[in-house]
Amino acid sequence: MLNFLARRIVQLIPTLFFVSVLIFSLQQLLPGDPALVMAGEERDPDVIAQIRQQYRLDQPVPVQYVYWIKGVLSGDFGESLRNKVSVRELIGQKLPVTMQLASMAIVIAFLIGIPAGIISAVKKGTAWDYGANLFALWGISTPNFWLGIMLIFLFSIKLGWLPASGYVPLTENWRASLSSTIMPAFVLGNAIAAILMRHTRSAMLQVLESDYVRTARAKGLSERSVILKHAMRNALTPIITLGALELGTLLSGAVLTEQIFSIPGFGKLIVDAVFNRDYAVVQGVVLVTATIYITLNLIADIAYVLVNPRLRA
C-alpha cells in the first residue's frame, strides 16, 4: 500500500509539471504584444509597464516560466489586473461557493443516479429499464445552460417559488442559501446522475450474474436482501470512486450554470476574467482546477485500493 502510494505520488510530479507548462504557454497564444493585449483598450502606459514587469516579458520565455512557477509554488498566482486583488485571494473567496454547489450536485446525482441504475438493472428489459435509460440519455444530451434557463422560467418566473439568480452564503441564512442554490445544483447534478445511472446499471448487471448472487438466491434469501445486501454492496464500490472523477464534469458545468444563475463562484470567476481579459486570473483558475482534479483522482485511486481487499496486498 505504501509502495503504491509512493509510486502514485511520484507519477504526479511530471503531470503537474506539464499542467503548469500548458497553462503558462496559454499566454503565448495571445496575438501580438502580450502586454498590449493584456492592458486592454485603454493602453495605459503604467499598466503596460506593470504587466511587462509582472510577467517579465523582456526575458526569454523559459526564464519567464521559471519566475512564474516560482511564484505559483509559493502561492502567488499574480494579481488581477482589473480588481487589483491577488488571484489567490479571489480564488479563496469564490471556491467555497462552488464547493457548496458541487457538494449539493453530487448528493443529488447519487440520490437519482444510483436508485435509477439499480432499478433498471434489476428490472432489465421492462418499462422501468427503458424509462431509466431514457432519463440517462436525456441527462447526457441536455445542455445544462438550457436546462437552467428552462428551470428559471418554470420555477422563478411562472411559479415564483425560487429566486432566479443570486446567492446567499450558507453561514448567513441556510434556508435562503439552499433555495438560491437548489436549481443550479440540480442542473449540475442531473448530468452526473445520468452518467452514474449508466455505470450503476452495468455494474449491477455484472454482479447479478455472479456466483455469489446465485448462491445467495439458492440459500433462499429474499430478493430484496439479495439485491440490497449482496449485489448492491459489491456493485457500488467502483461507483463511489467514479463519483469523485465526475468532478471534472461538475467544474466544467459550473462555469455556465453559475453564469446563468449569477452565482459568484469559481465558474463565474473564470468567465468574468475572460471578459475582462484578466489573463492571470484565467491561468490561476485553470491551474487550481487541474490541481484539485488531480488530487481527487489520487484520492479516488487510494479509496479504490482501500475498499478492494484483493488490491490491498
Binding site: 445542455p143 462555469v255 455556465l256 489573463y279 487541474a290
Partner: protein
C-alpha cells in the same frame, strides 16, 4: 424449437460471408434509437445546406416593427429582440453547430490519432512524454480548457473550433494508445513484422484499421460533446460573433428576455438538445453494433 434451429444456420452463414463494415451497418440499422438519430442528423444537415431555400427570411435582417413577437402563422417560432425571424436563425444556426462539431473533432482526430499511434507503438521515452502531456491536458476539465484556450486565442467561431478540437485531443491520444497496446501483441501484427514491414507501414495498415471501430464510436460521441461546447462558448460570447446566428448566442440573448419572450429560449435549446441526443444515440448504437462480443 424447429424454427429456431432452421433459422440459426443461415444467419450464422451470412454472418461469416459479409464484411465487418457491412455487418456493423446492418446491426446499426436494427437499432431504432440509432436510426432515429441518423434521421435527425440527416435532417439538420439538409437544413444547414439548403437553409436559403427552406426559410423565406434573412436570419440577420432586423425589423423594429417585429421586435419579440410570439410565434404566429408568418413567423412560426416567433421573432427575437431585434425583430429577426427565430426559425431562420435556428436553421442557419445549424451551420455553425454542425460545422463546429465536425471540424473540432476532425482536429482532435488528426492530432490525437497519430500521437496515440506513435506513443503506443514506439513505447519508451516518446510514450512517457506523450502520456504525461496527455495526463496534464486531461487534468483540465474539457470545457474549462476550451474556454481558457478560446479566451487566449480571441473570440471567433474558427478559434472556438480550434480550442474545442485541442481540448478533445487527449481523449483520442489515450484511446488510440490503449487500443494500439492491446492490438500490437496480436498474431497478425507479429506476422506483419516477421514479413519485414517497416514500422510506419505496420502502424498505418495493420494496426490502424483494427482500432477504427473504437475511434469511430468515440468520434461520434465527441461530436455531441463538441456541439454542446460550441454552444457553450457562443453562449459566453467566445464563439460565433453577432449578428451571425448560433444556437448558443441565441440562448444568451433569450435569457435576458425570459419574462416577456420565453419562446426565444425554447427553439435554439431544443435544436441543441435534438442534435446532441441524436449523435449520442448513433454513438451508443455504433458501440453496440461494433462490439464483437455481441454477435
Amino acid at each position: 424449437m424447429t424454427d429456431a434451429t432452421l433459422n440459426a444456420l443461415p444467419i450464422a452463414a451470412s454472418d461469416e460471408l459479409e464484411s465487418p463494415a457491412r455487418r456493423a451497418l446492418r446491426r446499426l440499422f436494427k437499432r431504432k434509437g440509432a436510426v432515429a438519430g441518423l434521421v435527425v442528423i440527416a435532417t439538420f444537415v439538409l437544413l444547414a445546406l439548403f437553409a436559403p431555400l427552406i426559410v423565406p427570411f434573412d436570419p440577420i435582417a432586423t425589423s423594429w416593427s417585429l421586435v419579440r413577437k410570439p410565434p404566429s402563422a408568418l413567423h412560426w417560432f416567433g421573432t427575437d429582440e431585434l425583430g429577426r425571424d427565430i426559425l431562420a436563425r435556428v436553421v442557419y444556426g445549424a451551420r455553425a453547430s454542425l460545422l463546429a462539431g465536425a471540424i473540432s473533432v476532425g482536429i482532435a482526430l488528426s492530432i490525437g490519432v497519430p500521437l496515440g499511434l506513435l506513443s503506443g507503438y514506439r513505447g519508451g521515452f516518446i510514450d512517457a512524454l506523450i502520456s504525461r502531456i496527455t495526463d496534464a491536458m486531461l487534468a483540465c476539465p474539457f470545457l474549462i480548457l476550451a474556454i481558457a484556450l478560446a479566451a487566449f486565442l480571441g473570440p471567433s467561431l474558427g478559434n472556438a473550433m480550434i480550442a474545442i478540437g485541442i481540448s478533445a485531443t487527449p481523449i483520442f491520444v489515450r484511446l488510440t494508445r490503449g487500443q494500439v497496446m492491446s492490438v500490437k501483441v496480436e498474431d497478425y501484427v507479429e506476422a506483419a513484422r516477421a514479413m519485414g514491414n517497416p514500422r510506419w507501414r505496420i502502424a498505418l495498415f495493420h494496426i490502424l484499421p483494427n482500432i477504427m471501430p473504437a475511434l469511430l464510436v468515440q468520434a461520434t460521441l465527441s461530436i455531441a460533446a463538441a456541439i454542446i461546447a460550441e454552444a457553450a462558448l457562443s453562449f459566453l460570447g467566445l464563439g460565433q460573433q453577432p449578428p451571425a446566428p448560433s444556437w448558443g448566442s441565441m440562448l444568451n440573448a433569450a435569457q435576458r428576455f425570459l419574462t416577456n419572450a420565453p419562446w426565444m429560449a425554447i427553439w435554439p435549446g431544443l435544436a441543441i438538445f435534438l442534435v446532441v441526443l441524436s449523435f449520442n444515440l448513433v454513438g451508443d448504437g455504433l458501440r453496440d453494433a461494433l462490439d464483437p462480443r455481441e454477435r
